[in-house]
């Protein structure tokens, strides 16, 4: 069961996240809870595996938006790193980066 406390512990900026939800805790927790099932994670992995950097960027960019709005900082930071790198056309080990993101996501999903 996801709580404000567990989110905080995970590293989320729950103050900002709650503010964006106009203080509506139930809404915030429900939306934060949906993140683990966010299809963007799979899409990003598939695109990277297939070598489709454009599709990968779209997926990373979407994740970045959602995670940013909910202020789930550790996940947001990693998604932003991937998104920004893809956008800049940097040659990085994207499979490894996605692996790190997936690991964080799994840790997050465990909270739920």
């Amino acid at each position: 069961m996801l709580t404000i406390e567990s989110l905080k512990e995970f590293g989320a900026d729950t103050v900002s996240g709650l503010q964006r939800c106009m203080g509506n805790e139930a809404l915030y927790l429900r939306l934060a809870g949906s993140v683990a099932k966010e299809p963007g994670f799979d899409k990003l992995k598939e695109a990277i595996d297939a070598g489709d950097r454009s599709a990968a960027f779209d997926a990373a960019h979407s994740l970045k938006g959602v995670l940013g709005n909910l202020s789930i900082t550790p996940l947001y930071n990693k998604a932003a790193e991937i998104s920004d790198a893809l956008k800049a056309g940097e040659d990085r080990d994207y499979a490894a980066l996605v692996g790190e993101l997936t690991a964080l996501k799994d840790k997050y999903a465990a909270l739920i």
Partner: protein, 563 residues
């Protein structure tokens, strides 16, 4: 009147387009307190919603990267469409360069992800909606400089906007007009006129504020008001009447009101006010009524009047307006003698046939066009007198009508003198008929104008004597040369003793003033005999001849000459 938008109580609709449920919900949660929020998951879905039911969206909040149809493509499509073009779009993005690109494509603003604080987002949306709504109606001058009311174009645009969110509220279109405003301007000058216009605007604004009204000055002295439906306008009219005396110390202001109640929302806004205007115009010149409601019967009459007004210039040019002459006979000798004539205008319309003077004279009197008609008649008459003089070697003096508005024409004397000179006449040859209505407005002007004309040698006839309230007043104020008795006394003089005594009384007055009396509307020999016995000098009426065109009048002259 300013805050109709806020008080109308209907929420604007906004559309959130984002493929991420989380973003949609956060944003929707922020905006739903203020707006009626709809959602779309991609551009295609958004397009269908935008093209869908009314009222339309006031704002689209658009994510850029989406499956199926992305944000860029949707903006492009919206900008290319005449209706969708006016809906502002705020782009939501985390990419700085996308912001530039979307603004270039026509986005009104952008919101960054992660979102700013909710208050910031709401404020941005409010600002963009307001800006966009104002922009569509700001293309014309918003306010009328003189009165501070909305300009006509702005007013119509504003109503269309109100209707977008307020369509189910019953509303009325109301038109106000100042009676004879052109006379106020001519008699008291432009400054007084302007003061009256501004004053009336203030009165209307004050009174209609209570019923969520907005107003504009549509034309010179015509005002439009759009307000919530009123069961009765008696109170509103009373309040307006109570305030009118303050408008001017000199001029007496009368206002009339036409109402198109519970407007039919399916027809054009402009047409609502056309209908109210029809009602308003209908009671022009009717001093017993100050307001009326629109009806379809009124519509027909007004269309007819409009056509007549539009056709007058053409009628003058094509000589469809013909001056007829009705003879006046002296009856005090052994047998009647043709002395003079009265000029009467007739309209022989190419399509409608003869139009009754009753259809167009009061109409043109009410809008000032009568001046055109009078000027035309004078000219025709002057030339006719000259032609007859050349043909018969004698002058037949002709009376012409001088309307109220002519009295205030600064060029009146000059115009008449020019005709006299051009046709080589004397000022005695054209007689000027003035009715009592000329008396009621501004006596100083009337006295001065009449004196000047008499000094020139023109004879002034007082027409329709006894028909109004101020006949006697007028006699004591201005010097006149002839009294014409109102024909209703003549018509009844043998049937009803009161009328007979009135005729006798007027004869006595004329005798006292030592001016001749003309009686109009004489139809029977018995009337002629009675009038002769009473000492009447001149008679005009069907008994001798109806008004006839010049060629027929010549037959009367011929008969007279043969003896």
């Amino acid at each position: 009147m300013e805050h109709f938008r806020e008080t109308s109580g209907h929420k604007r609709r906004v559309l959130i387009v984002d493929d991420e449920m989380v973003n949609r919900e956060i944003l929707g949660n922020i905006l739903s307190g203020k707006y009626d929020v709809s959602y779309a998951g991609d551009g295609q879905e958004a397009l269908e919603l935008i093209k869908g039911e009314k009222p339309g969206f006031s704002l689209v909040l658009l994510d850029l990267i989406m499956p199926r149809m992305d944000g860029f493509e949707l903006i492009k499509l919206m900008r290319a469409d005449n209706e969708m073009r006016s809906i502002p779009v705020i782009v939501m993005t985390a990419e700085a360069d996308a912001e530039v690109k979307s603004i270039n494509l026509g986005a009104a603003d952008f919101i960054t992800k992660p979102y700013d604080m909710p208050e910031v987002i709401i404020a941005r949306c409010e600002r963009i909606i307001e800006f966009s709504e104002d922009k569509t109606i700001i293309s014309s001058a918003e306010k009328d400089n003189l009165t501070g009311l909305y300009s006509r174009d702005f007013f119509f645009e504003y109503i269309r906007q109100i209707e977008e969110f307020n369509n189910d509220t019953r509303m009325d279109a109301v038109v106000f007009n100042i009676d004879h405003f052109h006379l106020i301007n001519e008699m008291y000058g432009r400054k007084t006129g302007d003061k009256v216009l501004k004053g009336l605007a203030d009165i209307l604004m004050n009174i209609f504020e209570d019923v969520a009204g907005i107003g504009c000055r549509a034309e010179a002295d015509r005002y439009y008001v759009y307000c919530q439906h009123q069961y009765s306008y008696d109170n509103i009219m009373q309040k307006i009447q109570d305030n009118l005396p303050e408008l001017s110390e000199k001029a007496k202001i009368r206002v009339r009101m036409g109402i198109y109640p519970n407007v039919e929302k399916d027809i054009e806004v402009e047409a609502w006010f056309d209908r109210a205007k029809v009602a308003c115009d209908r009671i022009r010149g009717d001093y017993t009524k100050s307001m009326t409601m629109y009806s379809s019967e009124l519509h027909e009459i007004s269309r007819y009047h409009e056509e007549l007004i539009n056709e007058i210039d053409e009628a003058i040019e094509n000589r469809d307006l013909i001056v007829f002459y009705q003879p006046k006979y002296g009856i005090q000798g052994d047998k009647p003698v043709l002395k003079s004539a009265e000029a009467l205008i007739r309209w022989k319309h190419p399509r409608r046939g003869m139009i009754s003077p009753g259809d167009f004279i009061p109409l043109f009197e009410s809008n000032g066009l009568i001046q055109k008609l009078d000027n035309y008649t004078w000219e025709e008459v002057a030339h006719q007198i000259r032609r007859w003089r050349e043909k018969y070697g004698r002058v037949i003096p002709v009376s012409v009508n001088v309307s109220r508005i002519d009295i205030y024409d600064p060029a009146l004397e000059k115009k008449l003198m020019k005709l006299v000179e051009d046709c080589n006449l004397t000022t005695k040859d054209i007689m000027l008929e003035i009715t009592e209505s000329a008396y009621s407005d501004n006596q100083d002007t009337l006295v001065r104008v009449v004196e000047n004309l008499r000094n020139r040698g023109f004879k002034i006839e007082m027409d329709d004597f006894g028909s109004g309230y101020s006949s006697l007043n007028m006699l004591t104020t201005i010097a006149i040369d002839v009294i014409k008795i109102d024909m209703k006394f003549i018509r009844n003089m043998l049937k009803d003793d009161k009328s007979l005594r009135m005729v006798k009384l007027i004869m006595d007055i004329a005798g006292f003033l030592e001016v001749p009396v003309v009686t109009e509307g004489v139809e029977e020999k018995a009337q002629v005999d009675k009038l002769r016995e009473m000492g009447c000098d001149l008679i005009q009426g069907y008994y001798f001849s109806k008004p006839v065109p010049p060629e027929d009048f010549e037959k009367l002259i011929d008969k007279e000459m043969q003896g």
